[in-house]
Assembly symmetry: C4
Homo-oligomer: 216 residues x 4
């Protein structure tokens, strides 16, 4: 089995896992992983396929300019963002998911330009974080169908927030990455957990004066 | 394997998938797909069966008038709506699901006659939609046990909203369709995602003045 | 395979299904089904076992007085309620589940003595219901560790509400039944759907003055 | 198969089960079980592995001082808490999970120093509890990266609350234990159920004046 075949198999397993959690409904989401570094070759999911049912033919191989080396059909429309993240963060894998809670928080955080999360033990699942007292800032960017323009905005945001592990596109979803595919997958799980936790804690009902007595 | 057998197998796989998500509890929901166009033959789920456990015998074949060509037991009680959608939208498949969030939104949108959804990237999963700036109007119709009368209402609503991809029956569920079974299944997933997103965003608690500090 | 073996297998399959939905966490819940009518013999889940991992040895056979005919370990502590329902409703199967939403609604409905549900298409999944305009009253009874006393209360409630398909024990869970095991399982799914729907609709946030505009 | 191998297999099965429920996302959570009592030997999950994909090599064996007897990689960073619980509660197994609802409640209960839960039938799933009228106090401790200091706090809390079955670390997760692995697993399920029930009941919207009429 070549490195590409192995990468394709791992992306398919990731797709089934995320589909089970409802994070890639419809044909949403896209994943990539680096197959070779020099020269750069990446495996990326094909556009328009269901991530819960990825077949080897649904993964294609690109070089560092986005040119197709192997596989048919178009690469993900968001390939430019993947290449940008691989270049600027030295990422070995990039994950883009579309969950309910990431979508919800992306909207609530749009005005402030991002979401701050701190005090959660789960933050320690993000690469390099050693304490729950860490404060993670997740930038929220306005969604844009112009990928060239959006790539430029992403580049600036990554420069402005050199410590961030992820960003949200407004009403669109989550982008995160990692040194390896395993790290990137862990980041998705950690961030989805944190976004749902923050969503329920900040936007649920107010703290009651006292607990309601259970006997009527 | 005949076209009908293949269609029946695909409807059963769809049933297992939607059942896992809780969208066809009890014996709710019904699905159809076109087997041949001229003359029209469709495969449709039998009435009163659990969609998570569809056997080949639970799918029956009808002609364009609703007459049974193959299989026993009655066709779905809502066959008239399926035939209406196949005719008026040139649909290759029709899906009817009963999720919690579709039911919730159908009630909230009843007074206004529908639900407007815009600004979500997921909208691009609907056939022909190219940008998240699209505004989708999902009509809400009052539920009715008189299928003939309801078919007439559906026909009028489809004429009034030629661009819509779906409608809701109040406190009942979602109808959507697509050029192929795969398209119709994708529409269900996209719309269920959007309905839950809109449900949580519009009917959750208000935006707080400021995020609650986590240290007490 | 004897009728008892078949019944035990079906109860185990039901357990796995309900466990996947989170309706029988811990060792909660209990199920019974009639194996023979005259004289009465029932198969019922053993006390203290996890319903998601029922083995044949976890199902025991009782006669109509609750005496053990086959199998070791004690029968469910709530056997008296099962026998009461089989006798007074001519039920072929009785299901008791402990879901989050049934627990939630049982508390909210305790003061009024029950929960009224009407206007939902899903109501038609209850035996004998022909229209969504049906009004189902689900009595809520105070929980009680004295099974003899609780059986008496159940008997009175069933007499007072001859058309009801289920009742809730407060902060405890749902009891429903059906002519066959399949009917009883369907009733669980229908009622769990309705309880979550009503829970979200009645106890979520108020209807907003207007939909929040999505552009900031 | 040795006792250790059997224990490792059971911890892996527990990991798959809890992962399916979303209670051990990322590499969160850790589990231990006693392999031999005298001298004490325990099996515990290795640090930094995904609990949904535990292989035998991801479980290591420790003696009562925390020294490694078998297996590579570090033991869980929270080993000291496991050993503390095994010693002070005579526990045969200790479970630590990170669910959304435990995290949510740990924050809401931090100021009061804990969460009181009473009136729920599910409480009877906790060892020694015989009635739903039982009042369970779940202490909430401030999270701390200094395991030695945290162990000391845990020891004091366990002395102050000799009847408690669990505690929460703030914005971190749930610790519970049991005489056997099966008991500890049941306690996780029972407590997760109760925490979600209490979370929805106390921090959802207020009881409405009257049910909203469904006809517009």
């Amino acid at each position: 089995m070549t490195d590409f075949d192995e990468a394709a198999g791992e992306l398919a397993a990731t797709g089934r896992r995320f589909d089970a959690r409802g994070w890639v409904l419809g044909t949403s989401g896209n994943f990539s992983t680096v197959v070779a570094h020099s020269p750069l070759r990446i495996a990326i999911t094909r556009s328009g396929v269901h991530k819960g049912a990825l077949a080897p033919a649904d993964v294609i191989e690109l070089d560092g300019t986005g040119a197709i080396l192997r596989g048919g059909g178009g690469p993900s429309a968001e390939t430019a963002l993947h290449l940008e993240l691989i270049a600027s963060r030295a990422a070995g894998a990039v994950m883009h998911t579309h969950s309910i809670w990431a979508t919800f928080l992306s909207d609530r955080g749009a005005e402030a330009g991002g979401i701050a999360i701190e005090g959660y033990e789960m933050l320690k699942g993000l690469a390099g974080v050693r304490t729950h007292e860490h404060r993670e800032w997740i930038p929220v960017l306005e969604n844009d169908q112009d990928m060239l323009r959006l790539s430029g905005v992403v580049r600036r945001v990554l420069l402005d927030h050199p410590a961030c592990h992820a960003f949200l596109l407004r009403r669109h979803g989550l982008y995160t990455w990692g040194a390896t595919l395993q790290d990137a997958v862990r980041h998705v799980e950690i961030l989805e957990f944190l976004l749902e936790s923050v969503g329920r804690a900040r936007y649920g009902a107010a703290r009651p004066e006292e607990a309601e007595p259970w006997r009527s």
